[in-house]
Symmetry: C2
Subunit: 146 residues, 2 copies
């Protein structure tokens, strides 16, 4: 049984971020990859949509410029033949402030011939913004029905 | 081939929210269910963690008090025997203001004997907060490395 593409991609991604070695990652990304991390791009320019291998490698470089991964825990993993859905928690360090950031995210990925073809990542962005600001944002209550 | 528990649960959930008929949902929830929607509970008290059938039915009632589902589109679905991971887009109406809210979310669910045992939902909460406020929140740029 061959290893699922997710594990190889995941190792290469972490190496690209933490060791700034994107070479392994490059071989695991389809030329026509479709990549989206949903979130506020005004604050975090490395979120948002990217198309094509060069743009994805560049955004991985930008992520590596901004955070270091201390730890990741996979809470749920579902694997298909060429697909994967995962919920994980990341413990990160923001490089410019040295602040810890804790993040839970879900990603849905599709692979083709062992290379990443499509990935969509959703995260609890409000929590991320508050951690990056280092202070809570005051919010009114949404509803009056409680 | 029997229908996957996800579809039955999904229909009953939408009926509970839009028609305020929780009876069908009640039969599809395990007594010991573990339920979490990650997000800012100060603004949205119906987010957060709930444990047990009564608490989950109550939170569904609170969601039904606050929003109506206009439309949902499943973008990705992965099914296991007793599990499911889905990425969807919801078009909602906020009932107190009549404002439209568009929401993308990921959920990971486990079922036992056809009943929901565990669900974790992640959403792009910053986008949700801005839509509920009806105005953008000004954010500083996270990094200076671009």
């Amino acid at each position: 049984m061959t290893e699922h593409s997710l594990w190889r991609f995941s190792r290469a991604f972490h190496r690209a971020i933490n060791e700034r070695r994107p070479e392994d990652l490059e071989a695991l990304i389809d030329d026509d990859v479709d990549w989206t991390i949903y979130g506020p791009i005004d604050m975090f320019p490395f979120l948002g949509a990217r198309r094509g291998k060069a743009a994805v490698l560049e955004v991985c470089r930008q992520i590596a410029d901004n955070v270091r991964i201390l730890r990741h825990d996979r809470e749920t993993v579902m694997l298909g033949v060429d697909s994967a859905a995962t919920m994980l928690r990341y413990s990160l360090t923001a490089l410019d402030t040295n602040k810890p950031i804790s993040l839970r995210l879900a990603h849905f990925a599709q692979f083709k011939a062992g290379r990443l073809l499509n990935i969509r990542i959703i995260l609890d962005t409000f929590d991320l913004v508050e951690q990056a600001l280092g202070r809570p944002i005051h919010l009114p209550k949404f509803a009056s029905t409680f």
